[in-house]
């Protein structure tokens, strides 16, 4: 059986849950998965990864370069321990950058955002989800796996762990970390997102979205019209073609018309709720649940209902 390399997503020595989905994707390629767990002290993440069902073995890869993200250094460290074969990792922004480098260093092709694997036919979205492309592999490749698509693997396994140390040179230097202005969740990390558009009328009205987000443990996003119109709404909140692409379980769009470039960033959300006063707004064609109402009327009720339900 050929070997399949899984690069675990590890941030500050903590294993990200998306890795369990990558394991399932790797198993569907029909090989023997070897999981690489990078870190400055990767031991606890490695023992956790060893419980994923179907994993053949785990390499705990210790390198001081993993203290901050530098794709050249990380690629060097990982490439030095990864045997040949397909290599898979999560399609986070770090994962995608690293995977692109690893593909070159392994003389293979990178396929980003994979959503389906059928034998050697691999499907991924292109044109911001307006089409799906299926490519066929004629050799080992590197793939990143879209989150929330493959079922996470169970954790009844007990793979053996080997330890490897490397020392790769950082090619960039971290000068300073400017902390986020608030402790709010970023849209790219959230499983529930509530976004506001131009229809919110003023940036102050986003406070309503924040109170609902707090109840749901959600992140607050925005349309480009909101980001461009109001200085208080930073670009980091923008969802869409020139903002972030998100794939949460629930996306609530408030006062957003549903322009094609906004849809480009959120159309693959599992469930979409739209609140808009205009029943003909395009967003309703993509919503699982649409509420034709002004936010002024709908949001207070939503907040109250969630309060009753979630405490």
């Amino acid at each position: 059986m050929s070997e399949i390399i899984i690069l675990a997503e590890v941030i500050n020595n903590t294993l990200k849950e998306s890795t369990a989905e990558v394991v399932t994707a790797a198993l569907s390629l029909g090989g023997n998965p070897i999981l690489i767990v990078p870190g400055t002290s990767p031991d606890s993440a490695a023992s956790m990864a060893a419980t994923y069902e179907g994993v053949g073995s785990v390499i705990a890869l210790q390198d001081d370069c993993f203290s901050n993200f530098d794709s050249a250094a990380w690629c060097e460290a990982i490439a030095s321990v990864a045997p040949p074969g397909h290599l898979l990792t999560s399609s986070s922004s770090m994962g995608k950058e690293l995977a692109a480098r690893l593909a070159v260093s392994r003389n293979s092709t990178i396929i980003q955002d994979v959503i389906k694997i059928e034998g050697s036919n691999i499907t991924h979205p292109i044109y911001s989800g307006k089409a799906h492309e299926t490519v066929s592999l004629n050799g080992p490749s590197v793939m990143t796996i879209r989150s929330n698509v493959f079922k996470p693997s169970g954790n009844g396994g007990s793979a053996s762990i080997s330890n490897v140390n490397t020392s790769s040179n950082l090619r960039t230097s971290l000068k300073e970390m400017v902390a986020k202005a608030s402790e709010r969740l970023d849209v790219s990390e959230a499983d529930i997102i509530i976004s506001g558009g131009r229809g919110m009328g003023s940036p102050n009205n986003f406070e309503k979205l924040y109170s609902i987000a707090d109840k749901l443990g959600a992140a607050v996003g925005a349309s480009r019209a909101a980001v461009d119109t109001w200085e208080e709404i930073p670009h980091s909140m923008q969802v869409g073609q020139t903002g972030k692409t998100v794939n949460p379980s629930l996306y609530i769009a408030v006062g957003i018309s549903g322009a094609i470039q906004h849809l480009a960033g959120m159309r693959t959300s599992k469930y979409i709720v739209a609140i808009n006063k205009d029943g003909t707004a395009p967003i309703f064609r993509h919503a699982d649940y649409g509420i034709i109402a002004t936010w002024e009327e709908a949001l207070p009720i939503l907040e109250q209902e969630l309060g009753t339900l979630l405490g």
Binding site: E97, A100, S105, T109, I111, N121, N138, Q241, Y289, G290
Partner: protein, 255 residues
């Protein structure tokens, strides 16, 4: 004082790509995306990269070359870049149709070498593939460091200080040239061409760069429209908010 910067002729390269207008509907014909009717544009993030490259030159001097890969139709975005003020425009001639990342990055890296690039800018992802692979891939091919999704830059003579979003907030990162930087929005709205620029661009020549075609190791099986979502449920009036909350809990199981 920076008065020597006049003599510092750093070779600034911007990689740009022609893509279907982001408003375009993508029709599928005989199992392949039919692009015969789409309008073509410069990929939006590449416009930020062009802006950054021009700001780099304005800050410390140098020469800006815009490079693309593709058939003759791509000359349009090179002329548009010329109108904005880049010094040179160049294209690797490649036929219509699919080229995988390995082919594209190998050819781009070879052209970057032959053009003597010392700093390469590109968009954080192209609007057609949405992959974001080109910048880091070309960097790896060249053996250079790269920093992705950059939102702000302080230009030095032989180094850069960059802002990049990270999990903890914003990271300020230092890198020495040569390097590849992929650009996000953040450095101001891309400038627009003026009449003089447009006139000059009309007469500009596109340098055709000859590089050996590199074969890839994937081929396209086909394209398909994404499966239609079943039609949703629509409710008129805010009195139905409670119904939707119940559905989110009992039908969708997401809250």
């Amino acid at each position: 004082m920076g008065c020597l910067s006049w003599f510092n002729m750093v070779e600034i390269l911007v990689l740009i790509k022609q893509v279907p207008d982001t408003n375009a509907k993508i029709e599928i014909k005989d199992g392949k995306a039919d692009l015969s009717m789409v309008k073509w544009i410069t990929s939006p993030y590449d416009e930020y990269a062009l802006e950054v490259a021009l700001q780099h030159k304005e800050a410390v001097g140098g020469t800006v070359t815009a490079l693309t890969l593709g058939p003759a139709r791509c000359d349009k975005i090179l002329k548009d870049a010329k109108a904005l003020g880049v010094d040179n425009i160049a294209r690797i001639d490649a036929p219509e149709g699919y080229l995988d990342s390995f082919s594209v990055q190998s050819m781009l890296a070879e052209a970057c070498n032959s053009l003597g690039a010392e700093i390469i800018y590109c968009g954080k992802a192209a609007a057609d593939t949405n992959a974001g692979s080109t910048g880091p891939g070309v960097a790896e091919k060249l053996g250079w460091p790269s920093v992705a999704n950059v939102t702000n830059i302080i230009f030095g003579e032989s180094s850069l200080e960059l802002m990049q979003p990270s999990f903890e907030g914003q990271a300020k990162i230092g890198v020495n040239l040569p390097a590849v930087i992929t650009c996000d929005k953040g450095m101001g709205e891309p400038r627009r061409a003026n009449v003089k620029g447009i006139m000059m661009a009309k007469r500009a020549n596109v340098d055709l760069i000859g590089v050996e075609t590199v074969g890839g190791n994937t081929s396209v099986v086909g394209h398909a429209s994404p499966p239609d979502k079943p039609p949703g449920k629509s409710f008129d009036g805010s009195e139905h908010v409670s119904t939707v909350v119940k559905l989110l809990r009992d039908e969708a199981n997401v809250i």
